[in-house]
């Protein structure tokens, strides 16, 4: 078996990669559905219906996609410069902690300042948390994957400590949760009914902004250059370390905003189950989007649909909800292969 670089990659082939990956994922996971004794097409139809079949389902899918868009963007930006930030989960919680610290009565500003302020402190907190791994990488060459992963566990324990200890809401009947965000700090609801909130607008704006930065600014160019070939970038006068640090700040900031949006938009207060692994799913989102900021939006919607749809599917037929996580994991592996096949061809010979 030999791998050969293709002379050129046609646009059609590149565009087909994520679609092929999604299709392959659904086919591979149908084995598990068959094992559960459910007809495959019926199961996927139920999943589709659960995600898009009613106004309520649609709203849930969009609500769930908000944190995924933000963590997906966070991962996409970082991976573009080959800075492997797997710590979006921890940075999300850092952002959530910042929003709770400032947003539960410490200060109260008019809503049009308070909401942006909370988003800002959340972004700063997320960026600050990622500053540790990025400085370790740039100064000491410590692998960032392991440090960001380990910090996820540290952050989760930190949250656990704060909501059981000093930040626990005394009015919460003994539940480990913080006090609620003040009214002026709450991200307003977008629709009269349902849980969809202004976080969606924040996420969409973030996607456009990140795209613009990557497409039109010097920093964006440098991020891509460093990711493509760090040595060549260094040689052409780009300060690689500085670029990676800026990348990390943007990445951590985006994940931090995800935390603020979940607290101030959806839950209202902070608990330990704020994120069922949004940070990790962000990796899948970014990969499916091929690290393109605008493609993160449909990719996040797709994975969100899988989660929301799988919930309702598993209620209707007897399939464990973990099928959604399996689909996400398989999709990461499938997209890797599909993207590779756009650039390389495999030649078999004996």
């Amino acid at each position: 078996m030999q791998i050969e670089l293709r002379d050129h990659t046609s646009l059609l082939r590149a565009g087909m990669a994520p679609i092929t990956a999604v299709f392959a994922t659904l086919v591979i996971c149908s084995a598990l559905i068959l094992w559960a004794g459910v007809p495959v097409l019926e199961a996927y139809a139920l999943l589709f219906k659960g995600a898009f079949g009613s106004a309520f389902a649609l709203k849930e899918t969009f609500t769930r996609s908000i944190p995924l868009m933000l963590t997906g963007l966070a991962v996409a930006v970082a991976f573009r410069s080959k800075f492997y930030n797997i710590g979006a989960e921890g940075q999300l919680y850092a952002g959530a902690l910042a929003s709770v610290y400032f947003g539960t009565g410490l200060i109260d500003l008019p809503a049009f300042i308070m909401v942006p302020f909370l988003l800002l402190v959340g972004a700063l907190a997320g960026g600050a948390l990622l500053l540790v791994p990025v400085l370790l990488k740039t100064k000491l060459k410590v692998d960032e994957v392991v440090t960001t992963l380990l910090l996820n566990f540290v952050m989760l324990l930190m949250v656990s400590y704060l909501i059981e200890g000093p930040w626990r809401d005394p009015m919460a009947m003994g539940w480990p949760q913080t006090a609620s965000i003040v009214d002026n700090g709450v991200l307003p609801a977008l629709l009269a009914k349902g849980r969809l909130h202004a976080g969606l607008i924040v996420a969409l704006l973030a996607a456009i902004l990140v795209w613009a930065v990557m497409r039109f600014t010097v920093l964006g160019y440098e991020i891509k250059a460093v990711g493509f070939n760090a040595k060549a970038a260094e040689f052409s006068g780009i300060n690689v370390n500085k670029t990676v640090i800026y990348t990390a700040l943007i990445s951590g900031g985006l994940a931090g905003i995800a935390g603020v949006s979940e607290v101030a938009g959806l839950k209202g207060y902070l608990t330990l189950d704020l994120s069922p692994g949004f940070g990790y799913t962000g990796v899948a989102v970014a990969m499916l989007a091929r690290l393109h900021p605008l493609s993160v939006v449909p990719a996040a919607l797709f994975l969100s649909a899988i989660y929301v749809g799988a919930d309702s599917m598993s209620r209707a037929v007897n399939i464990p909800t973990y099928i959604a996580d399996v689909l996400v994991g398989v999709s990461v592996l499938a997209i890797l292969v599909c993207v590779m096949l756009t650039q390389y061809k495999i030649r078999f010979r004996s």
Partner: protein
């Protein structure tokens, strides 16, 4: 301070340390073998979960304990093959593939567990490995109870350290593995297939990781919980760097961490509510980061780690 010394002097502390060290030793040795061949295996967290689930499930379905260990190992090797196919043969990003394998492997374990035990609310239990005191040696005061009154899987873990060292450093196969991670072109020049060597190393390493996971459910505890591996895989990755890719040092590093964990459980009990328990639980993760910082300047990474090998390509 005197409390700490009291803890250090109890046999229970040392026995616990040796018990807790086992999964770390399996995992660290497994990762070490992969990385020595030039392949970073971030699937470790998921592969340990697979091992924990499959080994336990084998016994729960009526199999015997050693069969369970073997089953867990072969499941681990299978995921290792998947990782090797992607990273060694298709030359895909080792970082992203590893994370993908972890997501896939752990969610698949949970899915299979729920499929086979749909309505279990309290996790069912198995009869785990029992302590097997080694005759005579276990009669030595203190050391005997700590070192030689353990389950067979712990003995296996400790035994793996010299075996892995010997194979890596004293046999032709080990030389090929290490060369594949340092200078794959030289391996090819010897007429040895780099891709096969790397694939084999990743499969063996992954099998060891899975046995480490199986230890948690079959020897340490007797049931499978969700989130049971709880970052131990990532700690193993840090330990490999801490150990400079050497099996002996890996054991020392793992012992240090296990001692820390055994100590924090006891310190938690004795410190009462003065220091919140979460800070004790943070220790292993923080220590892992610190260990990587300490070793950062000295770390001698295998030269070809993370570098895919394409036959006939100019370097």
């Amino acid at each position: 301070m005197s409390e700490l010394i009291d803890i250090l002097l109890t046999t229970g502390f040392w026995a616990a340390t040796i018990r807790i060290v086992s999964p770390l030793v399996f995992g660290t040795l497994g990762e070490l073998i992969c990385e020595r061949a030039g392949v970073l295996n971030l699937g470790i967290e998921g592969i340990m979960t697979v091992g924990a689930m499959s080994g336990w499930m084998w016994v729960y379905q009526g199999g015997d304990l050693w069969g369970g260990v073997l089953f867990a190992a072969s499941m681990g090797a299978l995921f290792g093959l998947l990782h090797a196919t992607f990273t060694v043969h298709l030359c895909l990003s080792q970082h992203v593939t590893g994370i993908g394998i972890t997501l896939f492997a752990s969610s698949l374990s949970y899915f299979v567990y729920r499929m086979l035990l749909p309505s279990a609310t309290t996790p069912p239990k198995i009869e785990p490995f029992q302590n097997y005191p080694i005759p005579f040696l276990s009669d030595i005061p203190m050391i005997g109870e700590a070192l030689f009154t353990q389950t067979p899987l712990t003995y296996l873990a400790i035994l793996c350290v010299p075996v892995v060292w010997y194979v890596l450093h004293r046999t032709p196969i080990g030389l090929a593995v290490r060369m594949a991670g340092e200078n794959p072109v030289a391996v090819e020049a010897q007429g040895i297939n780099v891709l096969s060597v790397r694939t084999g190393a990743v499969m063996v390493g992954s099998a060891l990781m899975a046995v480490g996971g199986a230890f948690i459910t079959m020897s340490w505890f007797d049931a499978f919980y969700f989130g049971m591996v709880n970052g131990r895989g990532w700690i193993c990755v840090a330990l490999v760097i801490f150990a400079s890719w050497k099996p002996g040092k890996a054991l020392l590093g793992a012992l240090l961490f296990a001692g820390l964990e055994a100590m924090q459980v006891r310190a938690q009990l004795s410190s009462g509510a003065v220091i919140p328990y979460q800070f004790f639980l943070m220790l292993p993760y923080v220590m892992s980061i610190l260990a990587m910082i300490v070793m950062a300047r000295k770390a001698k990474y295998p030269q070809a780690l993370l570098v895919p090998y394409r036959r006939g390509e100019r370097v």
